[in-house]
């Protein structure tokens, strides 16, 4: 063998040893149990931080969460390819039937939706009534200086711009909560469009994800859209004061969304809507996000670990929520959630 081919061969051998070492190291790192979950994209920022903190505290568990969308999460959960699913809308009767085994659904976090807008010269805090928001999204109010808006905001100089509505193009729980709100406050919306993760919008452009809607609103003067609270706070966008049922104008915030949630302590997977809630401090466009698990998972060890993880998530894990601008569950809902988690057998 010539000199060059000898060193070439030894290089190959060293490379091979390196790869084997790497693979061993990687497999050693995964010696702990890995739980898998999939679903809602809204939950993803909260889950990724919370589960990371949890695996720091409990080195025997890591949680791998794939944010593929609420619908995808439910499908994977029904197919039993993941330990738990996450969705902004709980599984309905048809989906529960497809699941074949009894399912438990636990509320894990809260979200509020801000009405973001882009009006040159107009700061945060434009006042809007619930009916007005519905009319804008129905396409009935088409200009920013329409009489309805001017009447509500006497001190504000509203420009003569057309209103560009921006909604979600992808199916999402955020859309579900928003259309649920609109169906509650406007009979015309309920009749014409309805509630859903994807709907047939009467007017407007579609943006992909919260980022898409926010980006589109920021680009277009005169645009208005509904965006998840966490995103709006992180990006310092201008958003509206929404008139709630009790007559107060409120910003979406951790406090106002939590107040809305507290009005329905008995929230369950069949009765989960908290939009347009009573109470002076309740923000009208709020909603829960859910995790679903089987009552009797096939593997008892994994069932134990899942239960422990979820118990942490709905109690101590809620402290993580505040750090990423998510709304922690109110105390009464946490107790409710713990009661449901305790039903996991295994």
């Amino acid at each position: 063998m010539s000199r060059s081919s000898f060193s070439h061969n030894s290089r190959k051998v060293i490379g091979l040893i390196g790869v084997v070492l790497l693979a061993t190291a990687a497999s050693v790192a995964f010696a702990s149990t890995q739980l898998t979950g999939a679903g809602s994209t809204f939950d993803y920022p909260f889950f990724s931080k919370a589960f990371y903190e949890y695996s720091q505290l409990h080195s025997d568990v890591t949680v791998n969460y794939q944010s593929i969308g609420s619908g995808g999460g439910i499908q994977q959960f029904i197919a039993q390819t993941v330990d738990f699913g996450a969705s902004d809308v709980p599984m309905d009767a048809d989906e529960l039937k497809l699941a074949k085994e009894p399912v438990l659904q636990v509320p894990v976090t809260l979200g509020g939706e801000a009405i973001g807008y882009n009006l040159p010269g107009v700061a945060k805090g434009l006042r809007m009534t619930r009916q007005l928001i519905a009319d804008i999204f129905l396409g009935k109010v088409t200009k920013w200086n329409a009489p309805e808006l001017v009447k509500l905001n006497p001190g504000v100089k509203l420009p003569d711009l057309p209103i560009t509505v921006v909604h979600r193009s992808d199916g999402s729980g955020t859309t579900y909560i928003f259309t649920d709100f609109l169906s509650h406050v406007s009979l015309e919306w309920k009749r014409k469009v309805g509630t859903g993760k994807s709907v047939q919008w009467p007017v407007g452009l579609g943006g992909k994800g919260n980022e898409g809607v926010a980006g589109q609103v920021r680009q277009s003067a005169g645009a208005i859209g509904y965006i998840e609270l966490a995103y709006v706070l992180e990006n310092e966008m201008t958003y509206a004061l929404v008139h709630n049922r009790d007559g107060k104008y409120l910003y979406p915030s951790i406090e106002t969304v939590a107040a809305a949630a507290a009005t329905k302590p008995e929230v369950s997977s069949t009765d989960f809507s908290i939009v347009d809630a009573k109470g002076g401090d309740s923000y009208p466009i709020s909603g829960y996000s859910w995790i679903m698990i089987y009552r009797k998972p096939s593997d008892p060890v994994r069932a134990q670990l899942t239960r422990a993880t979820l118990e942490w998530l709905v109690t101590k894990g809620q402290a993580v929520a505040k750090t990423v601008d998510y709304v922690p569950l109110p105390a009464n809902v946490q107790r409710n959630a713990l009661r449901i988690i305790a039903e996991i057998q295994g």
Binding site: G71, D170, G196, Q200, W201, L205, G206, K208, Q216, Q219
Partner: protein, 346 residues
């Protein structure tokens, strides 16, 4: 030697010392006398069943099998939607996930129009750029320039989409679309509200993405025209433009057409870049400034959240339609190549 005046495939006029092929496929030697047998027949055929034979046939067969399987799978998964909507799926405009009424017309329109704009712009620019690189560019620059154009093809689609959303869309909104509306606003395609995002912006982004394909292939096809042809017409006193028009273009026509079809195929299927700038609104409007929706965009946006079986099936049927459109476009191109361009090559 009269019969050797027929042109051979390389385009020589017969007085250059190259080998030529007679109409009945026998090879002519340099003195244009028929050889004893075609060269390929001189080599003995290898016995069937050798490893190499199996590999070659196997690879081709596997590939064909995958494509057929893909088509059958699409057909099978969309049977519910086909059964529910029948052929009216192709001409219905309604897309309502709440009432489960679906129709493909806005998406077919959006796909075809955005790709059509793209191929018009890219075809023009690409062929001219390819001609420049092949004919007129100083030899020292043609290498680096070609490299830079091919770099455009290496940029990922999502990067194009982001660039389109944050840079191109405002550019269209602030300068290009108002300009078009001011001078050509009497045409219905340039009337209507300007959003920035929309069909025209999607067409422009797709054009930028497919220009490298058209340019590279056009350049290669034009460079393959033998220099002797150009020298011949220069000897007759032709200008650069005349030689390009009379010698290069006719010879390169088939290849350039093929390049355009290849590029069109890419534009038809492009997903992420389109979905970020097309506006995501399932509506058919005369104005190119209006938002639209393409088949690939709606599938990417709504697939993960589609939970009802009919919804999923309708989305898969849209995928099947896109498959059929792409195959049809390619098939028509092939037929055109055979019937129109092949006889001209002699």
């Amino acid at each position: 030697m009269a019969e050797t005046e027929q042109r051979n495939p390389t385009g020589d006029f017969g007085f250059a010392p190259t080998s030529a092929v007679n109409a009945d496929d026998t090879i002519l030697n340099p003195r244009n006398e028929p050889r004893a047998r075609p060269v390929r027949a001189i080599l003995p055929r290898a016995p069937r069943g050798t490893g190499f034979d199996l590999c070659v046939y196997g690879a081709t067969g596997a590939f064909v099998a995958v494509v057929v399987a893909l088509f059958l799978e699409l057909l099978w998964s969309s049977r519910l939607s086909i059964a529910t909507f029948g052929f009216s799926f192709l001409w219905t405009s309604e897309w309502n996930p709440v009432t489960n009424q679906f129709g493909a017309l806005p998406f077919i329109y959006g796909t075809i129009v955005s790709s059509g704009i793209a191929i018009l712009l890219a075809g023009l620019v690409g062929v001219l750029a390819g001609a420049f690189l092949a004919e007129f560019c100083p030899i020292h620059f043609s290498g680096p320039l070609s490299f830079m154009i091919e770099l455009l093809a290496a940029v990922p689609s999502v990067v194009y989409g982001l660039w389109g959303l944050f840079i191109l869309a405002p550019l269209m909104h602030d300068y290009i679309e108002p300009f078009l509306q001011r001078y050509f606003g009497f045409l219905p395609i340039f009337s209507g509200t300007i959003y920035g995002v929309g069909m025209l912006t999607a067409g422009v982004i797709l054009a930028i993405m497919i220009v490298p394909t058209v340019t590279a292939i056009s350049r290669d096809v034009m460079a393959a025209i033998p220099q002797t042809q150009r020298e011949a017409i220069w000897a007759l006193g032709a200008t650069r433009w005349q030689s390009f028009r009379m010698v290069v273009l006719p010879g390169a026509r088939a290849g350039v057409f093929g390049a355009c079809i290849l590029a069109l195929g890419r534009a038809l299927g492009e997903t992420i870049a389109t979905t970020m700038v097309i506006g995501n609104r399932p509506a058919i409007e005369a104005s190119l400034f209006a938002p639209g929706y393409s088949i690939s965009s709606v599938i990417a946006n709504e697939f993960t959240e589609a939970t009802t079986q009919v919804y999923l099936s309708a989305l898969i049927e849209l995928g099947l339609l896109l498959f059929i459109i792409s195959v049809t476009v390619n098939a028509v191109a092939r037929v055109l190549l055979w019937t129109i361009f092949r006889p001209l090559e002699g």
